[in-house]
């Protein structure tokens, strides 16, 4: 802390960012002003400070002027702090002797019409930064080893892909899924656009792979209970929900030779309790002991303890396999991983909230996901599309796009759900293919067929005879006798209101984050965007990362995407998540708290403030003082903000540094 006291010598570099900054702020004036500030040894400006010549300027100036600190007034530290720290280091200074003044994102861009005000604000920002830079010290990141394992939360197609990539890269991977089987939403779909290959056919091999990959430890019917630790060293507690049924491995572990569930289904046959199957969206029954569908991975039955009457018939039927334990309880397991990928997916917006379309009011109004099950050969009707009201084959079907998407009323979702246009085209194709003479009507505002071969698919469906009506549906009314539906809209291209009587209407309902997303993101410390989707670190340059080091995102949990985009992002996330694991160690930013023992009264009030249990009281030289476990400290500074004796030294955000910033703003500047 207190080696040789050297008069600070600061170099200030003002960036033009092309015209982004220089178009509003008088950079010349800011540079000239900086040169007048105390401790400033050199001030300069340049077109693009982040460019190679810009960085070279910093390196040269450090040497030429024997600088002790560097200030760059440019964009935001959230973008280029790493760049300039590297330049500072290359110039021979400790990288933490760099400070940034944000004069673009929080200045020139938001005060575009107030050049004078913006320039004054930029001068103040530079003055504040110089004040801090004058007090910066050498800091050394703490290097910690990384656990050679990863976790993927959510086993839809995104989670499956990410887990397979990690596992194939030689990383032990825990794949966590809250439902009894992997597969997610994609396993509920019939066919996929634009290739029309069967969803299950392309997904099942991957589902099987995750079930038997030697590097993947699959935990279905399991939820994340608690998360502790930091990048490289997450300790994650899993709640393995009581399944009521043991797998063959679990049975073997308990010494039941040849026992455990082999998926024979004898239990299901005798179970007297019938409940709707959520996989079939309630359109087919299941028993209290169930599997969602025959392709489940793992092929192990699950007892729904909410509906089980514990009659014991299943236990009898299971016989010597002894797989069923109706007294089973939740168990907990803690695993250690280096990085985590969240792939928690989505659910359908409760479109009955948009009452005008009559979902859940009229039998023959269904959602697109229900349509997928009804048209699917393994679905509740064996792939025969029928009207829920009477089981008849529909000959006219209306497809309503943007059912709750692009909706600013506060009831629906303001965003585009992004894949509804394409699957609705696919649905139109399917009804024409399966039911000769069946006429689909697609009510749309815009057809967003943006992907590879998507526009061509639109062309094909139009050619096959689907009728496109450019108008959003105003409302649907049911003919009380026939249960047919009247769909009211305006054909905006024709300029006439339309009333089309159809047998069935399919709502391309908006999607929203899966129900537990908020809970999961809080566990992992990940932010969300305004719509509740998990927030990426940067929308363009870091779409798989989050602001919490070591946590990555894959698939729809980050925002609506179709299967190709989900898989692509999953592979990206897997790659990103594998980097620290392959490096074997990570550097933690050295923003640790330190105890100034002379000032510490040992009151211990800070100990309770720390959310990470990084602080303890210890006996030292006959006194009680606080002690920081650096690996646990994440540098929030909550202890430092609280300590009544000012005995906590928050590295890089020290009290003298912050007070200097405050003073520089309020007391410094022109007299």
């Amino acid at each position: 802390m207190a080696e040789e006291i050297k008069q600070p010598r600061i170099g200030v570099f003002v960036c033009h960012c092309g015209t982004n900054i220089a178009g509003t702020i008088d950079v010349e004036a800011v540079k000239d002003y900086a040169a007048t500030l105390p401790n400033v040894a050199v001030a300069d400006h340049y077109q693009y400070m982040c460019s190679t010549p810009g960085q070279q300027m910093i390196q040269d100036a450090i040497k030429e002027h024997d600088l002790t600190g560097v200030v760059v007034a440019a964009c935001t530290p959230r973008l280029h702090e790493p760049t300039f720290r590297t330049a500072t280091k290359e110039g021979g200074l400790n990288p933490f002797r760099f400070e940034m003044a944000n004069i673009r994102d929080q200045n020139s861009w938001v005060h575009m019409h107030d050049a004078e005000g913006a320039t004054e604000k930029a001068k103040d920002a530079v003055r504040i930064a110089v004040a801090k830079a004058s007090l910066l010290e050498d800091l050394y990141p703490k290097s910690v080893p990384v656990e050679h394992a990863a976790m993927v939360v959510g086993a839809g197609v995104g989670g499956i892909q990410a887990a397979l990539d990690l596992a194939n890269a030689g990383i032990k991977t825990y794949l966590i899924e809250k439902s009894p089987t992997v597969g997610g939403r994609m396993s509920q779909l019939d066919k996929t656009f634009p290739t029309l290959d069967c969803s299950q056919c392309i997904l099942t091999p991957k589902m099987v792979d995750v079930g038997r990959h030697p590097n993947i430890e699959l935990h279905t019917y399991t939820e994340v209970e608690a998360v502790d630790g930091y990048i490289g060293n997450f300790e994650i507690t899993l709640r393995k929900k009581a399944r009521g049924v043991m797998s063959q491995d679990e049975a073997t572990a308990k010494g039941i030779v040849g026992g455990g569930c082999n998926g024979c289904g004898d239990c299901e046959a005798v179970c007297p309790v019938i409940k709707p199957n959520p996989f079939e969206l309630g359109m087919a029954p299941r028993k209290a002991i169930y599997i969602y569908h025959p392709q489940v991975v793992p092929l192990v039955y699950t007892v729904d303890f909410d509906s089980c009457v514990k009659c014991g018939l299943c236990v009898e039927a299971c016989g010597d396999k002894k797989a069923i334990d109706l007294e089973m309880e939740d168990t907990f397991e803690t695993v250690k991983v280096g990085s985590v990928i969240l792939a928690t997916g989505y659910e359908i917006f409760p479109v009955e909230k948009k009452r005008e379309w009559g979902y859940k009011q009229f039998d023959n109004v269904i959602t697109s996901l229900e349509f997928e099950r009804l048209i699917c050969a393994s679905g509740p009707t064996g792939g025969h599309l029928v009207r829920p009201s009477d089981g008849e084959t529909p000959m006219k079907v209306a497809f309503l796009l943007c059912a709750g998407s692009r909706d600013n009323t506060g009831v629906g979702k303001p965003y585009c759900s992004r894949f509804c246009c394409m699957y609705s085209l696919k649905h139109a194709h399917q009804v024409m293919e399966k039911i000769p003479g069946c006429q689909p009507y697609i009510f749309y505002m815009d057809i967003r067929s943006f992907g590879k071969m998507y526009e061509e698919f639109y062309y094909r469906i139009q050619n096959e005879g689907a009728k496109f009506i450019r108008g959003r549906v105003a409302n649907i009314l049911e003919d009380p006798k026939t249960k047919n539906l009247h769909v009211y809209a305006e054909d905006t291209l024709l300029g006439r209101p339309v009333d089309i009587e159809v047998d069935m209407a399919v709502l391309a309902a908006a999607i929203q984050p899966a129900a537990d997303t908020d809970h999961v993101r809080h566990l992992f410390g990940v932010s969300c965007s305004q719509d509740g989707w998990l927030l990426e670190a940067h929308p363009k340059l870091n779409p798989c990362g989050t602001t919490t080091a070591g946590i990555f995102l894959a698939g729809v949990c980050q925002g609506p995407k179709d299967i190709p985009d989900t898989v692509a992002q999953a592979e990206g996330a897997a790659s990103a998540a594998s980097i620290p694991i392959h490096m074997g160690k990570v550097d933690l930013e050295p923003y640790f708290a330190q105890c100034i023992e002379e000032k510490c009264a040992g009151c211990g009030m800070c100990v309770n403030q720390c959310p990470y249990s990084a602080l303890d009281l210890i006996e030292k030289d006959g006194r009680t003082v606080m002690h920081v476990t650096e690996a646990k400290c994440k540098g929030c500074g909550t202890c430092g903000g609280f300590c009544p004796g000012g005995a906590i030294y928050m590295q890089h955000f020290t009290t003298p540094q912050i007070v200097a910033q405050i003073d520089a703003f309020l007391l410094g500047g022109e007299e």
Binding site: P77, V110, K634, G637, F665, L667
Partner: protein, 141 residues
């Protein structure tokens, strides 16, 4: 200087993860707001020592804004709760000292709320302009 319209001195201490990112987002979206506020970045509002704020007022700040994550969204679990509690207490201290407690404000702006950040800026500047120069500045003169 004195002849011109009075420019309030307002300082904002904002957290790195939510409000600072939200302020950056207002920038990317080019949402315009008045330039009166100067920001100091800390990792978490939990770092905000009440003494910083007292120092700012003693130095002559007309207003102080502390802005962090929404409750439940703190990058460090609960630093924002702890800060909010301190701010609440501090407000009553300010009142006792004869400083209108509206001069100190705590807001919660997430990384995705650029527009809200701009609204906060508008509102803080408006509030402080309505309150006028800090009584401490008047004393100093």
């Amino acid at each position: 200087m004195a002849e011109e319209e009075w420019q309030p001195k307002i300082i904002a201490i904002i957290c790195n993860w939510c409000s600072y990112a939200g302020a950056d987002l207002a920038g990317s979206a080019r949402t315009q707001y008045p330039p009166d506020v100067r920001a100091i970045r800390v990792m978490c509002t939990g770092r905000v020592d009440p003494l910083f704020i007292m120092k700012a007022f003693a130095d002559g700040a007309d207003g102080v804004l502390v802005s962090g994550c929404h409750f439940g969204d703190c990058h460090y679990i609960a630093g924002n709760y702890k800060c909010a509690k301190r701010m609440f207490l501090l407000k009553s201290v300010l009142k006792d000292l004869g400083i209108d407690d509206h001069r100190l404000r705590m807001t919660f702006v997430s990384a995705s709320e650029g527009a809200k950040w701009a609204m906060v800026m508008e509102d803080v500047v408006k509030t402080i302009k309505e309150l006028g120069p800090s009584p401490i500045n008047q004393l100093k003169q």
